[in-house]
């Protein structure tokens, strides 16, 4: 009687599988190395280079970059014309984020709590559809909508409500000849373009709030408003924060929309583009680019302190 092998003959693939089984870390290391290399070298490396550049300065006299450590470039950031850009960009990003949050919440709430079946599909389609078309196409379309002789202007003229637009455009600081050349136009387009990035995380967060949580609150005597304030909002906060990180940082970095819509006043992204592209002032461009990173770090720290990540 011959003894036949209980275990089948093993090829290279089987031996590899066995190796991974005995040493799970080997597989993990194999899987993680390429992305970590990418992240570490390419991304963090370029970030470090950027940071380094921002500590160089440009020679006022010759325009040549001096590769010596200095904080001069950062003090230059605080020059009124540059500081204006920072304030303008951060204000816009904050306003856009706030408006997106207010607009997105009811939509996300409806989608998360009430929409079922076809309605849900319609919701996803409605939110995602704008994301599928080209960003530039959307922005140019808005330019036409907001133009002096555009759709909104025409509709206002037809309904004798042009005075509304005119009064908006005569608000000090926003004066302009049309919505499309006013900061208000920039704001509207920003809100439109980034809104899906607020709705989706918000909807995901609201969807994770179990219905029984709302029932429990009502059961314990809370009115709808109280339930919203003390249960829904805190539980949806991670989603709101996630969405606001998107809208805030995307607005901070964008340089296309304010080029096409608005009064041509610079935003951080436009300044970086011009400074490094046409002026060769790499240090100042780098210092400008560092600002959004710092702002986001502060923002995340504040969000953390507010407990936005407690429920994660």
């Amino acid at each position: 009687m011959t003894t036949s092998a209980i275990l089948p003959a093993r090829g290279l693939a089987d031996r590899l599988t066995a190796l991974f089984w005995r040493h799970p870390r080997v597989l993990l290391a194999l899987l993680l190395t390429p992305p970590l290399l990418w992240l570490g070298v390419v991304y963090l490396g370029s970030l470090a280079a950027l940071l380094l550049q921002s500590f160089y300065s440009i020679d006022e006299f010759s325009g040549v970059v001096k590769e010596e450590f200095t904080l001069k470039t950062y003090t230059e950031l605080l020059r009124p014309s540059n500081f204006d850009i920072l304030v303008r960009t951060v204000t816009m990003a904050a306003a856009v984020t706030l408006a997106c949050a207010i607009l997105a919440f009811p939509i996300a709430y409806f989608a998360a709590r009430y929409a079922r079946g076809h309605w849900k599909a319609a919701f996803y389609l409605g939110v995602m559809l704008p994301l599928w078309s080209s960003y530039l196409v959307k922005v140019y379309a808005w330019k036409l909508i907001l133009a002096k002789e555009g759709i909104i202007g025409w509709a206002a003229a037809q309904t004798h409500t042009s005075w509304i637009i005119d009064s908006i455009l005569s608000i000090p600081g926003f004066e302009s000849s049309s919505l499309s050349t006013s900061p208000i136009g920039t704001f509207m387009v920003f809100v439109y373009i980034w809104l899906p990035y607020m709705i989706l995380p918000m909807q995901a967060a609201l969807e994770r709030v179990p219905n029984s949580m709302l029932e429990a609150s009502a059961d314990l005597g809370a009115t709808r408003a109280q339930t919203f304030r003390t249960v829904v909002l805190p539980l949806a906060l991670p989603g709101i924060i996630a969405g606001s990180i998107f809208t805030f940082s995307l607005t901070l970095g964008d340089y296309i929309i304010p080029q096409i819509i608005g009064n041509s006043a610079n935003f951080i992204g436009m300044a970086v583009y011009q400074l490094q592209g046409t002026a060769g002032n790499i240090p100042l461009a780098a210092a400008f680019a560092v600002v959004p990173i710092l702002i986001m770090l502060i923002y995340l720290a504040l969000a953390r302190r507010m407990g936005a990540f407690d429920a994660l």
Partner: protein, 385 residues
């Protein structure tokens, strides 16, 4: 990063003096089979945008050199691409060409190997943006003015002065120009303001709009600040500007013949003029990389680029002026003498071509405000400072 470093290096080279003349090609050998060109959009057409504008396919068939085009959007991008290498030719504007020469990125051209050199417009042959110490670093390709584009319904007579875009006033239709004029969204526009002051405030002593001392520069910025109040939006994209003339009620702005031609062809009441103060403009040169891998095809292309039929079609296509005068008149292409006049062919003397402002200028070492300050200050002006 590499780009940044190289750009810094080239800026450095520009300031430390120009390089010695390099050895020239002495004869054209067998074609290598291809030529790689960095060009502005619309400069090298092979009939793909519009069928009738094609000056590449026949060249490829005749020379055996396949033409590969890399489009660049700014002068700085062109400089960066040439610094990276791998290209044979570039269609550089005046604010890039000297940088390329100073940075040893381009080589001298042996004009004896370009038979059509003799047909080049005399005004361009020794132009300072491609000729250094009598050595030619390229062959002229095309030039054009930055014209004053206006709406003929508002201006029955062409405006005679750039003041319509610089100073608040009532236009011929009785309404203020506030919110109805535009200006170029690039620091080089400081030069337009300087040129306006050159005419209206001779006491400032401006001799070149690209060489401004602190006082002259400050006066130009003040003029631009006044312009900020008149301008709802600045333009940098030709198509956005055209849209603004159509939909935003803009009636006057500095512009390029390109936009004027397109708007006219759509039947809009648009015309252009070079006012009494003159205009700034651009002049482009085909230059050859110092390490060009395909020198023979490059020379063949440079010769081809001066063919009067190509120049004729190119000037129609882009709404600019050919480097070869015969292109306007010999009927080998679509251009006509009237067309050339409309594009500003006769205004060459009125035009001050773009060059990069540097601190060492005719007024002395370090006397002029360098370009990087133009950039940051113009950002401030547009931001309302």
């Amino acid at each position: 990063m590499t780009t940044m470093k190289l750009m810094a290096a080239s800026a450095l080279a520009l300031l430390t003096g120009l390089s010695p003349v390099l050895a020239q090609v002495t004869e054209i050998g067998a074609p290598e089979g291809q030529v790689n060109i960095v060009a502005w959009a619309g400069y090298i057409e092979r009939g793909e945008t519009m069928k009738e504008f094609d000056w590449v396919t026949k060249f490829e068939a005749a020379s055996g050199c396949k033409v590969n085009v890399k489009t660049a959007n700014t002068s700085d991008e062109m400089v960066a691409l040439m610094n990276e290498g791998g290209f044979d030719l570039v269609t550089a504007s005046g604010d890039a060409s000297l940088r390329l020469i100073a940075g040893d990125r381009v080589q001298p051209i042996n004009i004896d190997l370009v038979p059509s050199w003799s047909t080049v417009d005399e005004r361009l042959k020794d132009a300072p943006w491609h000729t250094v110490d009598g050595v030619h670093y390229g062959v002229p390709y095309m030039w054009g003015p930055n014209v004053l584009m206006y709406n003929t319904e508002v201006f029955p007579e062409p405006p005679t002065s750039w003041s319509v875009v610089f100073e608040e006033q009532n236009l011929p239709d009785g309404k203020s120009n506030k919110g109805r004029v535009q200006a170029y969204d690039g620091p080089i526009h400081v030069a337009d303001a300087a040129q306006y002051l050159m005419f209206h405030k001779p006491e400032l002593g401006i001799t070149s709009p690209y060489e401004l001392n602190e006082d002259q520069y400050k006066a130009a910025l003040d003029l631009l600040r006044a312009q900020r109040d008149l301008t709802s939006r600045y333009w940098h994209d030709a198509f956005i500007q055209m849209d603004d003339f159509k939909n935003e009620g803009v009636v006057a702005s500095g512009s390029w013949p390109f936009q004027v031609g397109l708007l006219k062809s759509e039947g809009l009441p648009i015309a252009s003029v070079i006012p009494q103060e003159g205009a700034t403009g651009w002049a482009d040169t085909t230059m050859m990389h110092v390490d060009a891998a395909n020198p023979n095809c490059s020379y063949l292309w440079m010769e081809h680029s001066l063919a009067s039929n190509l120049q004729s079609d190119l000037s129609v296509w882009f709404g600019a002026n050919p480097a070869v005068l015969a292109a306007c008149t010999d009927g080998r292409g679509m251009q006509t003498a009237e067309g050339c006049t409309a594009n500003g062919l006769d205004d060459f003397e009125k035009i001050r071509f773009w060059t990069t402002p540097v601190s060492n200028c005719a007024q002395g070492e370090g006397a002029c405000v360098p370009y990087y300050r133009w950039v940051s200050d113009y950002i401030g002006v547009i931001g309302g400072r």
